[in-house]
Amino acid sequence: MLREVGSIYRKEMRAYFTSPIPYIFMALFAGIMAWRFFFDDDTAFFVFDKADMARGFFYRLERWLIVLVPAVSMGQWSTEVDRGTIETLLTLPIRTSSLVLGKFLAAWTLVGICLLATATIPISVSSIGDMDWGPVLGGYAGAFLFCGALLAVGVWISARSRHQIVSFVLTLVVGMVFVAMYELAEKAGSTFGPILEQLSLVSHYQAIGRGVLDLRDLAYFGSMIALFLYLNAQSVENRRYR
């Protein structure tokens, strides 16, 4: 199975990096993040005068990630359907789970590389102040897991829709729902509030972003990824036997 996953993963990665689009995408993401951190009046890094990224970078980063992730996930299956390569792919002697996992891991790697493209920001900050790397690593880990969970949802949606744009919009909406759930938790009272908060990706992302890797948060992200990859595999399997 690992070999199958590996071959799909390599194929996907090759496809990404032989096209200029991911590069443009990464450059854009890195530029926006740098602008937010150094130039946005709300965060005003130099005026705040702390070697800290929680305030200017990781705070509300999820609002940008819910745009980044659908852009990566939208083409995962929809492109194959569009180009008519899905049938070829499904007739290959490869297990559905390997196909799903390979595609997901490649997309997750791409998102990870996008996040890594912003690594010059913490490096710059640590060069001008004594920065605590713990919350920075926590913030990146949280963002990566957030992207993983949303990506699993996005890849599943992509498998269920024919068009990339539909897939993009639906994943964006799901992402917005996850963000809104967190904000609604405040107004939902003490019965539904904690439930919404626990279900929201944002609260778990923020918990890890403090610089604390808690088993509960990791389990939540793991469960989300596992559930939607399973659903994804089910959808692809249905298509295979249609």
Binding site: P20, Y23, A27, L28, K50, W133, G138, G211, D214, R216
Partner: protein, 646 residues
């Protein structure tokens, strides 16, 4: 075929449902586990070793109730931190500390909060573009046995101290007989003549949190110090009368301990290094201190070492006057006591974080006098080797002093005085009392020659000195010159004239000194040893203590615990406000306990940016904004071109 498809669909749905159930159960099970890795350098989200030790040694159970209601989401991380902290306390205490999040959705929860007298907090909540106010609860209550529940409000504002607050509350609750601490400070009076919050209100609050009911904050030196007081913190004594000094001395002689924070430079209301003239104000303790062999010099200590002083924020503005950054500039008149310049054998100093002081005065110790009296004076902290005793205080501007031509040395800043002391009033009537009969001249009474201050027959009250007229300046007119020896000596001479030279201590004096808690009442006669010259020459009143073992800590700065340098201001976010834990720890150590010291001094690094000019700042901004994206684009274009040409 249709049946087969339907069966597959049902099977698929069943499997999905099963998976969801398994995942939910897994999450529910793991929700009880408290397994986490704290990646922060200072272990901010982990119970410290000191707290753990206290939790492990708990005997009585404690119950912590958290009231969290209607709190905005931005405090979510605080909530998580509290939950994690309480879980860890529960684990560390083997279940002795139990926590409960009170259900505030029911009326019962709100009623309970109101019954306990918890304060409702006002929060600003964002609604679109505008902010609205909302009320909610963000407090916790600690219950130990039958004791009055301890309330901690405004949890979000004290996150960095929450662990200490909870642990110290529990610790206080377990103590059978807490030491009694007195904070003596000058209080202003309101229009009705009632006392107002003084210059050390913040310290008072901190001490109250640390010592609870054991703090006596309304004690003054106008009356005798109550017998139950173990430790006195004398904050910025000003113009103390002879009677007040006498009461202070009697407190020490009966075994009381003290932290004396003299502040000869009256820099109140001064915003920072733009100060030009600072008034010098006498404490009234000068003569008594000279008798003890310690002098708090006039002027202030300047530390030229790179790490030896604090920073001051200077706003940077662009050409339109907008604030574009903050430059932290070093101000040598605010020496920072570094642990390496402290006496590491003293537990308080061992736990000391780099401590900011503000225009502190230097201490000088009369070694000869200590030797004769058999006392020990330990220098607990000093400046770096690049310290300088500045006598003149006419221009304290940052640029007003340079190191060139100065005598740089380690200047003592904090001292611990321990050992036998003969009363300053030994052989003389106590202040305010007329002698019953003329006192015959004593054979070894100080003469005009051996006491340079003995030539002034006047002055019961301390003589005001306006140091703006270059006090302590060098004779050659150099305003930064070294103060001459003796220029700092007090000018209040009448008691001095009559004061005897301190007698050598009796060999067994330390053993005979009364212990702090069991000091004899002041109106009981004090038995003194035979070779005490004061005893031999003067009849002693029944209520007076002529000698005893004293123990006090003295330093020449009180600003470090003044309201204006409290931990919540921007300035101390960089320089730290470790004067507060220092004084708390010192009071606790003098009372014979060390349990909470490590916990109280737990440091968080301010993590400010290095000083840099606008050019460097712009460079960093633009490298991140442009260079990185351009490099990524370049890589993409290269791949694209190579691929096309292939």
């Amino acid at each position: 075929m249709k049946n087969r498809n339907a069966r597959i669909k049902w099977l698929s749905a069943g499997c999905t449902l099963l998976l969801i159930v398994v995942l939910l159960l897994t999450n529910a099970l793991l929700a009880r586990a408290n397994m986490r890795v704290d990646l922060t350098e200072e272990g901010l989200y982990t119970l410290s070793d000191g707290s753990r030790a206290i939790m492990e040694s708990l005997e009585d159970p404690a119950r912590i109730k958290v009231f969290w209601h209607n709190v905005p989401l931005r405090f979510d991380n605080t909530k998580r931190y509290i939950a994690g902290l309480l879980d860890e306390m529960d684990d560390a205490s083997s279940g002795k500390v139990q926590s409960q999040w009170v259900d505030m959705s029911e009326e019962a929860g709100l009623a309970q909060a109101s019954e306990l007298g918890l304060e409702e907090h006002r929060f600003a909540v964002r609604h679109g573009a505008e902010f609205r106010q909302a009320m909610g609860y963000m407090s916790l209550v600690i219950e130990i046995g039958d004791a009055t529940p301890e309330k901690i409000n405004e949890l979000a504002n004290i996150t960095d101290k929450l662990e200490y607050r909870i642990v110290s509350s529990i610790f206080k609750g377990q103590r059978a007989a807490p030491p009694i601490i007195a904070l003596v400070q000058k209080r202003p009076f309101n229009a009705r003549g009632g006392p107002q919050a003084g210059r050390f209100a913040y310290l008072e609050r901190e001490l109250s949190l640390a010592f609870g009911d054991a703090l006596r904050s309304y004690i003054t030196l106008d009356k005798d110090i109550p017998e139950d007081v173990d430790v006195m913190i004398l904050a910025d004594p000003r113009d103390l009368s002879e009677e007040q000094v006498y009461r202070f001395e009697q407190f020490l002689l009966r075994g009381g301990r003290a932290v004396v924070l003299c502040d000869p430079l009256d820099a109140r209301g001064v915003a920072g290094p733009n100060v030009q003239v600072v008034r010098s104000a006498p404490s009234g303790l000068e003569d008594w201190l000279t008798h003890v062999g310690v002098t708090v010099e006039k002027g202030c200590v300047v530390d030229f070492h790179e790490k030896g002083s604090c920073l001051y924020p200077q706003e940077q503005r662009d050409r339109f006057g907008r604030v574009i950054g903050v430059d932290w500039v070093r101000y040598a008149h605010w020496p920072k006591v570094q642990p390496e310049n402290c006496d590491q054998t003293n537990p308080v100093m061992r736990y000391l974080q780099p401590m900011a002081t503000y225009w502190p005065a230097a201490l000088s110790i009369n070694e000869e006098r200590q030797k004769t009296a058999g006392r020990k004076v330990a220098i607990l902290a000093s400046s770096s080797a690049e310290g300088y005793r500045r006598g003149d205080v006419t221009n304290l501007r940052r640029a007003g002093i340079t190191r060139e031509g100065k005598l740089l040395e380690r200047v003592p800043l904090i001292a611990l005085v321990e050992g036998p002391l003969t009363s300053f009033w030994a052989g003389r009537p106590k202040p305010g009392e007329k002698p019953a009969e003329p006192v015959p001249p004593e054979p070894d009474q100080p003469t005009k020659d051996d006491d340079p201050k003995g030539d002034d027959p006047k002055g019961d009250a301390p003589q005001k000195d306006d140091s703006a007229k270059a006090p302590g300046g060098s004779p050659d007119g150099d305003p930064d010159g070294q103060p001459e020896a003796g220029t700092d000596a007090p000018k209040k001479d009448a008691p001095k004239k009559d004061a005897p030279k301190e007698a050598p201590p009796p060999a067994d004096a330390p053993k005979k000194a009364p212990p702090p808690a069991k000091a004899p009442p002041q109106d009981e006669p004090k038995k003194s040893d035979g070779d005490d010259e004061a005893d031999a020459t003067e009849p002693t009143g029944p209520e007076r203590l002529q000698n005893g073992n004293v123990r006090f800590v003295i330093m020449g700065d009180a600003d470090l615990v003044a309201n204006s340098f409290n931990p919540r201001i921007f300035l101390t976010s960089v320089n730290g406000a470790y004067g507060f834990p220092f004084v708390q720890n010192m009071a606790e150590w003098l009372s014979g306990s060390e349990d909470l010291m490590a916990l109280r001094s737990r440091a968080t690094n301010p993590r400010n940016l290095a000083q840099m000019d606008e050019g460097k700042r712009d460079m960093i901004k633009h490298v991140n904004l442009l260079l990185v994206p351009l490099l990524v684009l370049l890589a993409g274009m290269t791949v694209f071109i190579v691929r096309r040409s292939a």
